[in-house]
Symmetry: D5
Subunit: 145 residues, 10 copies
């Protein structure tokens, strides 16, 4: 079973069972963004994680097997223009070169790792309307020959 087929089954089962992504993450003892990304096919689960997730969601063994496979990572470009995702792309298009300047100013020549990396999403209450706060947190890697 391909990881995209497994993801579709997970999404449908989650809705049918009325489970939140956070509840599944709690069950697996893993962070919510990581767990959601993994169940959508972007990270391999361990056997134990895969089996607990499938038990929780009532899914067959073939799904659990698929969830443990090494993924080929990345998202279909057609999905990247969904407005909820596109706003991140737009923000990078406006602020990307400024982030690059400030990373180099603070750390020197290098990058924020996207591998030794975590991302969290949180809600911050605000009288003008609550805010989505997304934190990208990656190890700095300097260009080193």
């Amino acid at each position: 079973m391909s990881k995209s087929d497994a993801a579709e089954l997970v999404v449908a089962a989650r809705r049918r069972r009325g489970l939140t992504w956070s509840a599944i993450a709690d069950e697996l003892g893993a962070p919510p963004v990581w767990t959601t990304a993994a169940l959508l096919g972007q990270h391999p689960l361990t056997r134990e994680q895969a089996e607990r997730a499938c038990t929780l969601l009532g899914l067959e063994a073939a799904v659990a097997e698929s969830l443990q496979q090494q993924p080929s990572r990345g998202t279909d470009p057609a999905l990247m223009s969904d407005p909820t995702i596109y706003r991140f792309t737009e923000a990078l298009s406006v602020y990307g070169p400024a982030l690059k300047e400030l990373i180099h100013e603070e750390f020197g020549d290098g990058i924020m790792s996207a591998i030794n990396f975590r991302v969290d999403v949180a809600r911050r209450p605000d009288p003008d309307g609550d805010r989505v706060v997304v934190t990208f947190d990656g190890k700095f890697l300097d260009y080193r020959w």
Copy 2:
């Protein structure tokens, strides 16, 4: 003078004068990412901000005038494949759909605004290597007819 010509002059003057982006931001009393983005051409400065920046950098009035103009926002795609910027794009390609799921789970159907929005970059010390922490913070907007 186009905003990209103004940005080139700012970048060169900053280096020549040995100023940091943060020092310029302090001088303008504005946040570092906003200030850097604005000086690179992505936001209009007020007349006062533009003039203080140009005095600090030793740049002529035409630059100050250009910095106040309304920009057409966005970055040349060729620059987006620079590795320091690309890692953000890669992270979105891996985590974008998971972020979408979790925003909808927490807030309902809608988006994180990229307009009523701020972004910060910080350094977090870590024994395994310091970390780049970039926070995207935007007002939640629900689909509302």
Copy 3:
């Protein structure tokens, strides 16, 4: 069932039953453009709306379930070159920068929201040939840090 499969079934049932989109919208108590877009897969319906629509159209529960799902929004680019849709794209290509200038002139630096947003289509009689009048109506959002 995917939302595109659901949309195809809706389109076919609508024709078979001889219902107009407006009649369906009336039944749901929702605006016509919103309703049509939602049934084509661009907005989630509430459970009640989905069930009333399916009853009206004689469609099974799986369709109603699909219509309530959170969509990934956007249209296959191949459909955007259909002449009836393309004329809007062409108009934006001719008038987009002028609209940007006038929005900034009237409101300042910011955008028309496409989320807190409504769109209507109407017929205006005209002796030279009736006219299609499409109104885009979105909340102004100013760039605010």
Copy 4:
């Protein structure tokens, strides 16, 4: 002088003289969106309009000559991803097929002309935040062999 060079001179002169697009439109006795689009290079002005605009803006005869030329219409795609313009593109991507359905339902098989066409932008006060209202108004043309 190319129309894009003329447009740059118009934009700079307008700012220097502190004129609004609406004031220029009034001077020419033409609608604001049409006037702005024409001065940005998307429509030819009459000799009289071109000369009045250049007198108002203090621009030389070569600009007036350029403004009268027949344009090759369209906007550089790089400018279409500016957020203020992009929101219209996004709205079409979400609502385009619904607009097509409703145009066919009301008028039959055909299109809204983008040639026999006008577009207006207005501000509508709203306690929740004022709204940008953009009206596309084109003659219906039916497919006719």
Copy 5:
């Protein structure tokens, strides 16, 4: 049944029954290019036309129903590079700007409609080799605000 599936069935039935497109057009009392385009999915047929075509071709009612549907018009770009079609594209690439100049010279600022439009193909005998003569005939539409 999708219009492309219907088109495939039409093409196969036409060959099997040894019918020409012209003969089908005669049967429908419609012009050959229009009829061929409609049967390939680019125009809706009336109920009567659809039923006569299906009777002639020995096709089931589902095909007739599909042929009456409102199409989303346009051709898969992969098919546009077939040499027989590509020569038209090449001719436009060589002569397009010249046609634009001459249309404006003769008619003023505007376009040839592709909606109030007909196209015919004919054979013109020629001692040096017979010629394909394709006539595009569309109503002139002037830019009118």
Copy 6:
């Protein structure tokens, strides 16, 4: 001098001198579409044609020399989305496969040559609005090994 620089000088001189493309074509004793395309850089002129055109337009010898050069044919894709030119592209997208079917039906397997080829544009009066009639006329070439 490049052919595009020469074309710009031709276009400007033509307007300054108040000459029509047809008048220039008459002077050269050549068809209007051919002449316009050649002066825009798509065909080489003979020395005599080039010199007569430059005398008529008051242009220097370097232009005449450029007009005689062998062109690299084709039009910048950005110009192909001008609405006056785009309508031809749209018509091909709607009718291209039908034209292919009818060319094969009438002539067998082959193409309409775009080299042994002529194209004319004419005005046909019509009480409902005059019509633009563009005729593509190319020798049929059969696939022959």
Copy 7:
């Protein structure tokens, strides 16, 4: 049956029966490149050719029928980057403009026909390693109005 499905069956049957493309070409009395291209879906076979090929390959009548159909010519771009095919594309990218210059020098303004055209592939022994010799042979067509 589509021509690509037919091609797959031909390719599989050829291997199963241990036949070379040249042997099939001999059987059909047609040149090898033409025959191979036709069986891969780029040319229509006559009824007789199609039936002999299917007899030789042990394929059913539906394949023979498909092989006689008029093709939509061209190859999926994904296949064009196969190294064996790409070397031809690379050679054109290096030598294309030189071939154009020399064709014009020898023949005048025009093209090598790709319709009245044949191509052969041969092996030329060479002590440094045998050589692939591919000959493109097309009728010269001069630009003729």
Copy 8:
């Protein structure tokens, strides 16, 4: 001086002096296609070749220097759609997979080298119209680990 600037000067000087590419090739004692490609910037000339070519064409030393530089090979894609060049691309799109099959059949798994490679263009008289004969001749390279 860039190789494209040098090529423009060569092309202009060749025309001014009335020299053919073949005459220049003779002077250099090199094959015509190689010589033309080299002068257009696709191969480095030796110092002696570069100086003889520049003497023949009356060009300055800077051109000779540029002609000796190592090129970055390839042609601007915009030039590849010129009809004289495009016919080769079209032929590859029709015959590429067949050439691949026959190369593998004759030589085994491998490619025709585009490096150890020559290409010639010749005229073959034919009562039906003379023919352009272009021969691609490259060493076979087998996949060898």
Copy 9:
């Protein structure tokens, strides 16, 4: 059976049987990168290799047959943006022109063959973290007419 279907079966069987790619390579007596690439569909196996691989993996004869077929080489571009693969692409984007300079400096005008070519991947222990060492080793081919 297509080579991509065969590859999927190989990948699944390998995991099910707990075999490493290296163990399969050992069994075939072939290098690991070559073997892995071949089983993923990029090289034809000999009959003996194909049968041994299928025996080892418990796969049916149809897979073995597919593995012996001549492939159309290349990878779906969507897979090339997987981060593990993308880092090689990024390295080429940063170092490609430098590699070209140094190859020409050492070897003269020519290329590293990608056909007479091998690639190995190894682990090099390093106290700062073990390293992935990938060696591209291809015969130098000089441009030779």
Copy 10:
């Protein structure tokens, strides 16, 4: 001065002075690929390196200043199709997925860093023709949350 202007001056001065890249690298005490890439604009030099390089090459201070700037890394895609560079891209297209499999097999889920990374090019004598040996050597980074 932009880094691409500086690179052009470096390339020209190197040829004029008859220096090899390796000699320049020796002078800077840095590896050849790193040095060449840095001088072509892909890495910042230290002030001392930049000044030594400019003294060696006889270039002005503005070049040295440019060479110290932080680059925006990456290569114009047009240059990536040069055959000497393209062979690397082709090798990745053939072997990329196999490399990914073997990296995961040996190291687990992660990547070869392109930042903590070095690349070398060497000549390996071989009786069948010397070989280009390019070694990519990057730290393994495991996906770590």
